[in-house]
Symmetry: C2
Subunit: 278 residues, 2 copies
Protein backbone atom coordinates (compact mmCIF):
# COMPACT_ATOMS: atom_id res chain seq x y z
CA UNK A 1 0.00 0.00 0.00
CA UNK A 2 1.42 3.34 -1.06
CA UNK A 3 0.34 6.86 -0.24
CA UNK A 4 0.09 8.84 -3.49
CA UNK A 5 -1.21 12.15 -2.15
CA UNK A 6 -1.57 13.90 1.19
CA UNK A 7 -3.04 17.36 1.70
CA UNK A 8 -4.05 19.20 4.84
CA UNK A 9 -7.77 19.98 4.55
CA UNK A 10 -10.18 21.41 7.11
CA UNK A 11 -7.87 20.48 9.94
CA UNK A 12 -7.56 16.87 8.81
CA UNK A 13 -5.86 15.18 5.87
CA UNK A 14 -7.10 14.24 2.40
CA UNK A 15 -5.02 11.30 1.21
CA UNK A 16 -4.98 9.04 -1.84
CA UNK A 17 -3.63 5.50 -1.54
CA UNK A 18 -2.79 2.82 -4.09
CA UNK A 19 -2.81 -0.87 -3.28
CA UNK A 20 -2.88 -4.26 -4.99
CA UNK A 21 -6.49 -5.48 -4.98
CA UNK A 22 -7.06 -9.23 -4.89
CA UNK A 23 -10.77 -8.92 -5.71
CA UNK A 24 -10.02 -6.91 -8.84
CA UNK A 25 -6.62 -8.41 -9.71
CA UNK A 26 -5.10 -4.99 -10.32
CA UNK A 27 -3.81 -1.93 -8.48
CA UNK A 28 -6.58 0.27 -7.14
CA UNK A 29 -6.69 3.77 -5.73
CA UNK A 30 -8.94 5.23 -3.09
CA UNK A 31 -9.25 8.63 -1.49
CA UNK A 32 -9.53 8.82 2.28
CA UNK A 33 -10.29 11.90 4.33
CA UNK A 34 -9.04 11.64 7.89
CA UNK A 35 -10.79 14.24 10.06
CA UNK A 36 -8.90 15.98 12.87
CA UNK A 37 -10.59 13.76 15.46
CA UNK A 38 -8.78 10.68 14.14
CA UNK A 39 -5.58 11.83 15.81
CA UNK A 40 -7.03 11.09 19.23
CA UNK A 41 -9.84 8.58 18.71
CA UNK A 42 -11.18 5.90 16.38
CA UNK A 43 -13.77 7.32 13.98
CA UNK A 44 -16.65 5.81 11.99
CA UNK A 45 -16.36 5.50 8.21
CA UNK A 46 -18.66 6.71 5.47
CA UNK A 47 -18.00 4.98 2.14
CA UNK A 48 -18.72 7.02 -0.99
CA UNK A 49 -19.28 5.39 -4.38
CA UNK A 50 -18.86 7.61 -7.44
CA UNK A 51 -20.64 7.54 -10.77
CA UNK A 52 -19.81 6.80 -14.39
CA UNK A 53 -16.59 8.29 -15.81
CA UNK A 54 -15.32 9.12 -12.30
CA UNK A 55 -12.10 8.10 -10.59
CA UNK A 56 -11.27 8.50 -6.91
CA UNK A 57 -10.51 12.17 -7.71
CA UNK A 58 -13.95 13.54 -8.54
CA UNK A 59 -15.51 13.28 -5.12
CA UNK A 60 -12.47 14.41 -3.17
CA UNK A 61 -11.86 17.48 -5.34
CA UNK A 62 -15.41 18.59 -6.14
CA UNK A 63 -17.95 17.53 -3.51
CA UNK A 64 -16.75 19.75 -0.67
CA UNK A 65 -17.52 16.93 1.76
CA UNK A 66 -14.42 17.24 3.93
CA UNK A 67 -15.71 20.19 5.94
CA UNK A 68 -18.73 18.17 7.10
CA UNK A 69 -16.63 15.10 7.83
CA UNK A 70 -14.34 17.30 9.94
CA UNK A 71 -17.33 18.76 11.74
CA UNK A 72 -18.78 15.34 12.60
CA UNK A 73 -15.55 13.37 13.03
CA UNK A 74 -16.19 10.93 10.18
CA UNK A 75 -13.64 9.25 7.92
CA UNK A 76 -14.63 9.41 4.23
CA UNK A 77 -13.45 6.64 1.89
CA UNK A 78 -13.95 7.11 -1.87
CA UNK A 79 -12.62 4.33 -4.12
CA UNK A 80 -12.05 4.47 -7.84
CA UNK A 81 -15.10 3.21 -9.75
CA UNK A 82 -13.57 0.30 -11.68
CA UNK A 83 -10.49 -1.83 -12.23
CA UNK A 84 -8.02 -0.19 -14.63
CA UNK A 85 -4.76 -1.01 -16.33
CA UNK A 86 -3.07 -2.99 -19.03
CA UNK A 87 -4.79 -6.24 -19.83
CA UNK A 88 -8.08 -5.25 -18.19
CA UNK A 89 -11.17 -5.43 -20.38
CA UNK A 90 -12.49 -2.12 -21.62
CA UNK A 91 -14.96 -0.67 -24.08
CA UNK A 92 -15.06 2.61 -25.92
CA UNK A 93 -18.73 3.19 -25.23
CA UNK A 94 -18.25 5.39 -22.21
CA UNK A 95 -21.68 6.93 -22.56
CA UNK A 96 -23.23 3.56 -21.82
CA UNK A 97 -20.95 3.09 -18.88
CA UNK A 98 -19.48 0.00 -20.40
CA UNK A 99 -16.14 0.92 -18.94
CA UNK A 100 -17.62 1.29 -15.49
CA UNK A 101 -18.15 -1.44 -12.96
CA UNK A 102 -21.72 -0.78 -11.74
CA UNK A 103 -20.59 -2.30 -8.43
CA UNK A 104 -21.51 -5.85 -9.48
CA UNK A 105 -19.53 -9.10 -9.58
CA UNK A 106 -19.28 -9.93 -13.29
CA UNK A 107 -19.69 -13.57 -14.25
CA UNK A 108 -19.08 -13.34 -18.00
CA UNK A 109 -15.76 -13.18 -19.85
CA UNK A 110 -13.84 -10.99 -20.31
CA UNK A 111 -15.32 -8.94 -17.45
CA UNK A 112 -15.28 -11.69 -14.82
CA UNK A 113 -11.49 -11.61 -14.61
CA UNK A 114 -11.44 -8.19 -12.93
CA UNK A 115 -14.89 -6.65 -12.57
CA UNK A 116 -15.78 -7.60 -9.00
CA UNK A 117 -16.43 -4.16 -7.59
CA UNK A 118 -19.10 -5.54 -5.25
CA UNK A 119 -16.62 -7.79 -3.48
CA UNK A 120 -14.08 -4.99 -3.45
CA UNK A 121 -16.42 -2.46 -1.83
CA UNK A 122 -18.18 -4.85 0.53
CA UNK A 123 -15.22 -6.88 1.78
CA UNK A 124 -11.73 -6.06 0.60
CA UNK A 125 -11.69 -2.29 0.93
CA UNK A 126 -13.27 -2.12 4.42
CA UNK A 127 -10.89 -4.80 5.69
CA UNK A 128 -7.96 -2.79 4.36
CA UNK A 129 -9.23 0.49 5.75
CA UNK A 130 -9.97 -1.02 9.15
CA UNK A 131 -6.51 -2.56 9.19
CA UNK A 132 -4.60 0.61 8.31
CA UNK A 133 -6.57 3.50 9.84
CA UNK A 134 -8.11 4.35 13.21
CA UNK A 135 -11.66 3.26 12.42
CA UNK A 136 -14.32 2.18 14.85
CA UNK A 137 -16.81 -0.53 13.91
CA UNK A 138 -19.54 1.78 12.58
CA UNK A 139 -19.82 2.29 8.84
CA UNK A 140 -22.30 3.81 6.43
CA UNK A 141 -22.50 4.10 2.66
CA UNK A 142 -23.54 6.75 0.17
CA UNK A 143 -23.08 7.39 -3.54
CA UNK A 144 -24.04 9.27 -6.69
CA UNK A 145 -25.69 8.00 -9.87
CA UNK A 146 -24.06 4.62 -10.63
CA UNK A 147 -22.55 4.91 -7.15
CA UNK A 148 -25.96 5.67 -5.66
CA UNK A 149 -27.14 2.42 -7.21
CA UNK A 150 -24.08 0.74 -5.71
CA UNK A 151 -24.75 2.14 -2.23
CA UNK A 152 -28.42 1.12 -2.25
CA UNK A 153 -27.77 -2.37 -3.62
CA UNK A 154 -24.86 -3.04 -1.28
CA UNK A 155 -26.79 -1.95 1.81
CA UNK A 156 -29.91 -3.86 0.76
CA UNK A 157 -27.93 -7.05 0.14
CA UNK A 158 -26.11 -6.77 3.47
CA UNK A 159 -28.62 -6.02 6.22
CA UNK A 160 -26.99 -4.84 9.40
CA UNK A 161 -23.64 -4.08 7.83
CA UNK A 162 -24.17 -0.34 7.37
CA UNK A 163 -25.63 1.95 10.00
CA UNK A 164 -27.20 4.06 7.28
CA UNK A 165 -27.43 4.35 3.51
CA UNK A 166 -28.21 7.29 1.25
CA UNK A 167 -27.88 8.25 -2.38
CA UNK A 168 -27.82 11.29 -4.62
CA UNK A 169 -29.45 10.84 -8.01
CA UNK A 170 -29.06 7.03 -7.91
CA UNK A 171 -29.85 4.60 -10.70
CA UNK A 172 -32.81 3.10 -8.87
CA UNK A 173 -33.67 0.09 -11.02
CA UNK A 174 -30.56 -0.93 -12.93
CA UNK A 175 -32.09 -3.96 -14.63
CA UNK A 176 -34.83 -1.87 -16.23
CA UNK A 177 -32.95 1.08 -17.78
CA UNK A 178 -30.75 1.29 -20.89
CA UNK A 179 -27.46 1.77 -19.03
CA UNK A 180 -28.16 -1.32 -16.94
CA UNK A 181 -29.56 -3.50 -19.71
CA UNK A 182 -26.38 -2.99 -21.66
CA UNK A 183 -24.02 -3.44 -18.70
CA UNK A 184 -25.79 -6.38 -17.09
CA UNK A 185 -26.00 -8.27 -20.38
CA UNK A 186 -22.25 -7.98 -20.70
CA UNK A 187 -21.37 -8.59 -17.06
CA UNK A 188 -23.95 -11.24 -16.12
CA UNK A 189 -25.27 -12.65 -19.39
CA UNK A 190 -28.73 -12.65 -20.89
CA UNK A 191 -30.56 -14.40 -18.03
CA UNK A 192 -32.52 -11.52 -16.58
CA UNK A 193 -33.34 -13.45 -13.42
CA UNK A 194 -29.72 -12.85 -12.44
CA UNK A 195 -30.17 -9.12 -12.90
CA UNK A 196 -32.68 -8.59 -10.11
CA UNK A 197 -30.04 -9.08 -7.43
CA UNK A 198 -28.40 -5.87 -8.71
CA UNK A 199 -31.55 -3.75 -8.95
CA UNK A 200 -32.30 -1.61 -5.89
CA UNK A 201 -36.05 -1.37 -6.51
CA UNK A 202 -36.27 -5.13 -7.14
CA UNK A 203 -34.34 -5.88 -3.95
CA UNK A 204 -36.78 -3.70 -2.00
CA UNK A 205 -39.72 -5.55 -3.54
CA UNK A 206 -38.33 -8.94 -2.54
CA UNK A 207 -36.88 -8.01 0.87
CA UNK A 208 -38.28 -9.79 3.93
CA UNK A 209 -36.29 -8.73 7.00
CA UNK A 210 -35.79 -5.41 8.74
CA UNK A 211 -36.19 -2.48 6.40
CA UNK A 212 -33.48 0.17 6.65
CA UNK A 213 -34.59 3.73 5.99
CA UNK A 214 -33.33 5.24 2.70
CA UNK A 215 -32.46 8.89 2.09
CA UNK A 216 -32.38 9.95 -1.57
CA UNK A 217 -31.97 13.38 -3.14
CA UNK A 218 -32.80 13.85 -6.81
CA UNK A 219 -32.69 16.99 -8.95
CA UNK A 220 -35.77 17.51 -11.08
CA UNK A 221 -33.66 19.09 -13.85
CA UNK A 222 -31.42 16.03 -14.07
CA UNK A 223 -31.00 15.10 -17.75
CA UNK A 224 -30.66 11.40 -16.87
CA UNK A 225 -34.01 10.87 -15.15
CA UNK A 226 -34.93 8.15 -17.67
CA UNK A 227 -31.87 6.17 -16.54
CA UNK A 228 -32.33 6.92 -12.85
CA UNK A 229 -36.05 6.21 -12.45
CA UNK A 230 -36.70 7.52 -8.95
CA UNK A 231 -40.38 6.78 -9.52
CA UNK A 232 -39.60 3.05 -9.60
CA UNK A 233 -37.81 3.35 -6.26
CA UNK A 234 -40.69 5.26 -4.78
CA UNK A 235 -43.22 2.74 -6.08
CA UNK A 236 -41.21 -0.21 -4.73
CA UNK A 237 -40.91 1.43 -1.32
CA UNK A 238 -44.59 2.26 -1.18
CA UNK A 239 -45.63 -1.23 -2.25
CA UNK A 240 -43.29 -2.84 0.28
CA UNK A 241 -43.64 -0.46 3.20
CA UNK A 242 -39.96 0.37 2.92
CA UNK A 243 -39.11 3.71 4.59
CA UNK A 244 -37.87 6.24 2.04
CA UNK A 245 -37.20 9.95 2.14
CA UNK A 246 -37.10 10.94 -1.53
CA UNK A 247 -36.48 14.65 -1.89
CA UNK A 248 -36.96 16.09 -5.34
CA UNK A 249 -34.82 19.21 -5.65
CA UNK A 250 -36.22 21.86 -7.94
CA UNK A 251 -33.86 23.03 -10.66
CA UNK A 252 -30.91 20.80 -9.77
CA UNK A 253 -29.09 18.73 -12.39
CA UNK A 254 -26.78 15.69 -12.17
CA UNK A 255 -23.51 17.53 -11.57
CA UNK A 256 -21.21 17.96 -8.61
CA UNK A 257 -22.91 21.33 -8.08
CA UNK A 258 -25.94 19.28 -7.05
CA UNK A 259 -23.85 16.92 -4.92
CA UNK A 260 -22.02 19.72 -3.15
CA UNK A 261 -25.30 21.48 -2.38
CA UNK A 262 -26.69 18.51 -0.44
CA UNK A 263 -23.72 16.41 0.69
CA UNK A 264 -23.70 18.29 3.99
CA UNK A 265 -27.23 17.12 4.77
CA UNK A 266 -26.32 13.55 3.85
CA UNK A 267 -23.23 13.53 6.04
CA UNK A 268 -25.20 14.98 8.96
CA UNK A 269 -27.79 12.25 8.50
CA UNK A 270 -25.14 9.54 8.42
CA UNK A 271 -23.39 11.11 11.42
CA UNK A 272 -26.54 10.75 13.48
CA UNK A 273 -26.68 7.03 12.62
CA UNK A 274 -22.95 6.44 12.99
CA UNK A 275 -22.75 8.08 16.38
CA UNK A 276 -26.00 6.67 17.76
CA UNK A 277 -26.26 3.39 19.63
CA UNK A 278 -25.28 0.32 17.61
Amino acid sequence: MERIESHACFGGTQEVWSHASSALACDMRFGIYLPPQVRTQACPVLYWLSGLTCTEQNFITKAGAQQYAAQHGIILVAPDTRPRGEGIADDDDEALGQGAGFYVNATQAPWSANFRMYDYVVDELPALVDDCFATDSARSICGHSMGGHGALVIALRNPGRYRSVSALAPICALSRVPWGERALTDYLGADQDQWRAWDAAALIESATGDRQSLLVDQGDADPYLAQLQPALLQAACEASGHPLQLRMRAGYDHSYYFISSFIGEHIAWHAAALKGAA
Copy 2:
Protein backbone atom coordinates in the same frame (compact mmCIF):
# COMPACT_ATOMS: atom_id res chain seq x y z
CA MET B 1 -22.42 37.19 -24.66
CA GLU B 2 -23.39 33.54 -24.44
CA ARG B 3 -24.22 31.39 -21.46
CA ILE B 4 -22.20 28.16 -21.68
CA GLU B 5 -23.23 26.49 -18.43
CA SER B 6 -25.90 26.89 -15.78
CA HIS B 7 -26.26 24.72 -12.68
CA ALA B 8 -28.40 25.11 -9.59
CA CYS B 9 -26.05 25.30 -6.61
CA PHE B 10 -26.78 26.08 -2.95
CA GLY B 11 -30.06 27.70 -3.87
CA GLY B 12 -28.48 29.97 -6.47
CA THR B 13 -26.96 29.37 -9.90
CA GLN B 14 -23.40 28.68 -11.01
CA GLU B 15 -23.06 29.90 -14.58
CA VAL B 16 -20.27 30.17 -17.15
CA TRP B 17 -20.40 32.86 -19.83
CA SER B 18 -18.39 33.51 -22.96
CA HIS B 19 -17.99 36.95 -24.50
CA ALA B 20 -15.81 38.85 -26.96
CA SER B 21 -13.24 40.80 -24.94
CA SER B 22 -11.97 44.05 -26.40
CA ALA B 23 -9.12 44.35 -23.90
CA LEU B 24 -7.82 40.90 -24.81
CA ALA B 25 -8.93 40.79 -28.45
CA CYS B 26 -10.33 37.28 -28.08
CA ASP B 27 -13.29 35.38 -26.62
CA MET B 28 -13.10 35.02 -22.86
CA ARG B 29 -14.97 32.92 -20.34
CA PHE B 30 -15.85 33.67 -16.77
CA GLY B 31 -17.73 31.81 -14.06
CA ILE B 32 -20.36 33.69 -12.09
CA TYR B 33 -22.18 32.43 -9.03
CA LEU B 34 -25.50 34.14 -8.49
CA PRO B 35 -26.68 33.62 -4.91
CA PRO B 36 -30.38 33.15 -4.15
CA GLN B 37 -30.61 36.75 -2.90
CA VAL B 38 -29.98 38.09 -6.41
CA ARG B 39 -33.53 37.19 -7.42
CA THR B 40 -34.91 39.93 -5.20
CA GLN B 41 -32.10 42.45 -4.68
CA ALA B 42 -28.86 43.76 -6.13
CA CYS B 43 -25.85 42.05 -4.56
CA PRO B 44 -22.20 43.00 -4.13
CA VAL B 45 -19.54 41.24 -6.18
CA LEU B 46 -16.39 39.42 -5.08
CA TYR B 47 -13.91 38.95 -7.93
CA TRP B 48 -11.72 35.86 -7.75
CA LEU B 49 -8.45 35.58 -9.70
CA SER B 50 -7.05 32.08 -10.22
CA GLY B 51 -3.48 30.90 -10.44
CA LEU B 52 -1.16 29.41 -13.04
CA THR B 53 -2.55 26.62 -15.23
CA CYS B 54 -6.14 27.42 -14.20
CA THR B 55 -9.14 28.29 -16.32
CA GLU B 56 -12.46 29.64 -15.08
CA GLN B 57 -13.32 26.05 -14.10
CA ASN B 58 -10.89 25.38 -11.25
CA PHE B 59 -12.35 27.78 -8.72
CA ILE B 60 -15.99 27.07 -9.48
CA THR B 61 -15.58 23.28 -9.31
CA LYS B 62 -13.05 22.89 -6.49
CA ALA B 63 -13.11 25.78 -4.02
CA GLY B 64 -16.51 25.13 -2.48
CA ALA B 65 -17.08 28.88 -2.30
CA GLN B 66 -20.70 28.94 -3.43
CA GLN B 67 -22.12 27.93 -0.06
CA TYR B 68 -20.54 30.95 1.61
CA ALA B 69 -21.60 33.29 -1.19
CA ALA B 70 -25.14 31.98 -0.78
CA GLN B 71 -24.96 32.51 2.96
CA HIS B 72 -23.79 36.11 2.64
CA GLY B 73 -25.61 37.09 -0.55
CA ILE B 74 -22.49 37.78 -2.61
CA ILE B 75 -22.00 37.32 -6.35
CA LEU B 76 -18.72 35.54 -7.20
CA VAL B 77 -17.04 36.27 -10.53
CA ALA B 78 -14.09 34.09 -11.59
CA PRO B 79 -12.56 34.84 -15.00
CA ASP B 80 -10.23 32.66 -17.01
CA THR B 81 -6.59 33.50 -16.28
CA ARG B 82 -5.40 34.48 -19.75
CA PRO B 83 -6.36 35.11 -23.36
CA ARG B 84 -6.58 31.91 -25.38
CA GLY B 85 -7.18 30.85 -28.93
CA GLU B 86 -5.76 30.63 -32.39
CA GLY B 87 -3.22 33.32 -33.19
CA ILE B 88 -2.62 34.22 -29.53
CA ALA B 89 0.98 34.04 -28.34
CA ASP B 90 1.83 31.04 -26.21
CA ASP B 91 4.80 29.25 -24.74
CA ASP B 92 5.38 25.65 -23.81
CA ASP B 93 7.04 26.50 -20.53
CA GLU B 94 3.96 26.14 -18.38
CA ALA B 95 5.99 25.61 -15.22
CA LEU B 96 7.29 29.14 -15.51
CA GLY B 97 3.82 30.45 -16.12
CA GLN B 98 4.77 31.80 -19.49
CA GLY B 99 1.34 30.94 -20.82
CA ALA B 100 -0.32 32.79 -17.97
CA GLY B 101 -1.12 36.47 -17.87
CA PHE B 102 0.07 37.47 -14.38
CA TYR B 103 -2.67 40.13 -14.50
CA VAL B 104 -0.40 42.71 -16.14
CA ASN B 105 -0.71 44.79 -19.31
CA ALA B 106 2.05 43.48 -21.58
CA THR B 107 3.98 46.07 -23.58
CA GLN B 108 6.28 43.78 -25.58
CA ALA B 109 5.49 41.83 -28.76
CA PRO B 110 4.06 39.31 -29.22
CA TRP B 111 2.33 39.52 -25.82
CA SER B 112 1.12 43.10 -26.09
CA ALA B 113 -1.45 42.14 -28.73
CA ASN B 114 -3.60 40.22 -26.25
CA PHE B 115 -2.09 40.05 -22.77
CA ARG B 116 -3.88 42.89 -21.03
CA MET B 117 -5.41 40.99 -18.15
CA TYR B 118 -5.07 44.01 -15.87
CA ASP B 119 -7.35 46.12 -18.06
CA TYR B 120 -9.70 43.18 -18.45
CA VAL B 121 -10.08 42.56 -14.72
CA VAL B 122 -10.06 46.20 -13.61
CA ASP B 123 -12.32 47.72 -16.26
CA GLU B 124 -13.86 45.53 -18.94
CA LEU B 125 -15.12 42.62 -16.87
CA PRO B 126 -16.71 44.68 -14.06
CA ALA B 127 -18.43 46.90 -16.63
CA LEU B 128 -19.84 43.83 -18.34
CA VAL B 129 -20.90 42.19 -15.07
CA ASP B 130 -22.53 45.38 -13.80
CA ASP B 131 -24.34 45.74 -17.11
CA CYS B 132 -25.72 42.20 -17.25
CA PHE B 133 -26.37 41.15 -13.65
CA ALA B 134 -28.09 42.59 -10.59
CA THR B 135 -24.98 44.01 -8.90
CA ASP B 136 -24.80 46.83 -6.42
CA SER B 137 -21.84 49.21 -6.44
CA ALA B 138 -19.75 47.34 -3.84
CA ARG B 139 -16.96 45.09 -5.02
CA SER B 140 -14.03 43.25 -3.49
CA ILE B 141 -11.22 41.13 -4.87
CA CYS B 142 -9.44 37.95 -3.86
CA GLY B 143 -7.20 35.38 -5.52
CA HIS B 144 -4.78 32.48 -5.25
CA SER B 145 -1.09 32.31 -6.12
CA MET B 146 -0.67 34.24 -9.40
CA GLY B 147 -4.25 35.41 -8.79
CA GLY B 148 -3.39 36.45 -5.24
CA HIS B 149 -0.66 38.60 -6.76
CA GLY B 150 -3.25 39.95 -9.18
CA ALA B 151 -5.72 40.78 -6.42
CA LEU B 152 -3.15 42.57 -4.27
CA VAL B 153 -1.65 44.54 -7.16
CA ILE B 154 -5.01 45.53 -8.59
CA ALA B 155 -6.33 46.73 -5.24
CA LEU B 156 -3.10 48.57 -4.40
CA ARG B 157 -3.08 50.33 -7.78
CA ASN B 158 -6.74 51.36 -7.50
CA PRO B 159 -7.34 52.83 -4.05
CA GLY B 160 -11.02 53.06 -3.20
CA ARG B 161 -12.18 50.77 -5.97
CA TYR B 162 -12.48 47.61 -3.86
CA ARG B 163 -14.07 47.49 -0.44
CA SER B 164 -11.63 44.77 0.60
CA VAL B 165 -8.81 42.64 -0.76
CA SER B 166 -7.44 39.28 0.32
CA ALA B 167 -5.25 36.53 -1.05
CA LEU B 168 -4.45 32.88 -0.52
CA ALA B 169 -0.80 31.93 -1.07
CA PRO B 170 -0.14 34.98 -3.27
CA ILE B 171 3.03 35.74 -5.19
CA CYS B 172 3.95 38.68 -2.99
CA ALA B 173 6.85 40.25 -4.87
CA LEU B 174 6.55 39.28 -8.53
CA SER B 175 9.54 41.29 -9.73
CA ARG B 176 11.91 39.48 -7.35
CA VAL B 177 11.11 35.78 -7.90
CA PRO B 178 11.94 33.42 -10.78
CA TRP B 179 8.37 33.15 -12.12
CA GLY B 180 8.08 36.91 -12.27
CA GLU B 181 11.56 37.62 -13.59
CA ARG B 182 10.84 35.39 -16.53
CA ALA B 183 7.31 36.65 -17.17
CA LEU B 184 8.02 40.35 -16.67
CA THR B 185 11.05 40.24 -18.95
CA ASP B 186 8.84 38.87 -21.69
CA TYR B 187 5.77 41.00 -21.01
CA LEU B 188 7.41 44.33 -20.08
CA GLY B 189 11.01 44.13 -21.32
CA ALA B 190 14.29 44.25 -19.45
CA ASP B 191 13.82 47.64 -17.73
CA GLN B 192 13.23 46.55 -14.18
CA ASP B 193 11.94 49.98 -13.15
CA GLN B 194 8.78 49.04 -15.06
CA TRP B 195 8.41 45.88 -13.03
CA ARG B 196 7.83 47.53 -9.67
CA ALA B 197 4.33 48.63 -10.66
CA TRP B 198 3.40 44.93 -10.77
CA ASP B 199 5.00 43.89 -7.49
CA ALA B 200 2.69 43.93 -4.46
CA ALA B 201 5.42 44.39 -1.88
CA ALA B 202 7.01 47.19 -3.93
CA LEU B 203 3.66 48.96 -4.30
CA ILE B 204 3.21 48.82 -0.55
CA GLU B 205 6.65 50.31 -0.02
CA SER B 206 5.93 53.21 -2.34
CA ALA B 207 2.28 53.86 -1.41
CA THR B 208 1.39 57.24 0.07
CA GLY B 209 -2.40 57.43 0.51
CA ASP B 210 -4.86 55.50 2.64
CA ARG B 211 -3.66 51.99 3.40
CA GLN B 212 -6.23 49.25 2.90
CA SER B 213 -5.97 46.29 5.24
CA LEU B 214 -4.76 43.04 3.64
CA LEU B 215 -5.80 39.53 4.62
CA VAL B 216 -3.45 36.76 3.48
CA ASP B 217 -3.46 33.04 4.25
CA GLN B 218 -0.38 30.97 3.47
CA GLY B 219 0.30 27.28 4.05
CA ASP B 220 3.65 26.56 5.63
CA ALA B 221 3.96 23.28 3.67
CA ASP B 222 3.49 25.09 0.34
CA PRO B 223 6.17 23.83 -2.07
CA TYR B 224 6.27 27.22 -3.84
CA LEU B 225 7.27 29.42 -0.90
CA ALA B 226 10.41 30.57 -2.74
CA GLN B 227 8.18 31.97 -5.52
CA LEU B 228 5.55 33.38 -3.15
CA GLN B 229 7.81 35.14 -0.60
CA PRO B 230 5.29 36.05 2.10
CA ALA B 231 8.24 37.33 4.16
CA LEU B 232 8.78 40.13 1.62
CA LEU B 233 5.12 41.13 1.94
CA GLN B 234 5.36 41.10 5.70
CA ALA B 235 8.57 43.14 5.68
CA ALA B 236 7.08 45.71 3.29
CA CYS B 237 3.97 46.08 5.44
CA GLU B 238 5.98 46.41 8.63
CA ALA B 239 8.32 48.99 7.11
CA SER B 240 5.41 51.02 5.70
CA GLY B 241 2.87 50.66 8.47
CA HIS B 242 0.55 48.87 6.09
CA PRO B 243 -2.09 46.79 7.93
CA LEU B 244 -1.66 43.08 7.19
CA GLN B 245 -3.14 39.92 8.65
CA LEU B 246 -0.76 37.20 7.45
CA ARG B 247 -1.88 33.82 8.76
CA MET B 248 0.60 30.99 8.32
CA ARG B 249 -1.36 27.72 8.24
CA ALA B 250 0.52 24.76 9.63
CA GLY B 251 0.69 21.77 7.29
CA TYR B 252 -1.21 23.29 4.37
CA ASP B 253 0.10 23.15 0.80
CA HIS B 254 -0.71 25.13 -2.36
CA SER B 255 -3.70 23.09 -3.54
CA TYR B 256 -7.44 23.65 -3.66
CA TYR B 257 -7.64 21.62 -0.44
CA PHE B 258 -5.94 24.62 1.16
CA ILE B 259 -8.19 27.10 -0.64
CA SER B 260 -11.39 25.25 0.26
CA SER B 261 -10.34 25.08 3.91
CA PHE B 262 -10.10 28.87 4.24
CA ILE B 263 -12.25 30.38 1.50
CA GLY B 264 -15.16 30.55 3.91
CA GLU B 265 -13.21 32.83 6.24
CA HIS B 266 -12.17 35.02 3.32
CA ILE B 267 -15.72 35.37 2.04
CA ALA B 268 -16.98 36.21 5.52
CA TRP B 269 -14.29 38.88 5.79
CA HIS B 270 -15.21 40.35 2.41
CA ALA B 271 -18.91 40.16 3.29
CA ALA B 272 -18.34 42.34 6.32
CA ALA B 273 -16.65 44.97 4.13
CA LEU B 274 -19.13 44.67 1.25
CA LYS B 275 -22.15 45.04 3.48
CA GLY B 276 -20.76 47.74 5.75
CA ALA B 277 -21.05 51.46 5.10
CA ALA B 278 -19.41 52.64 1.88
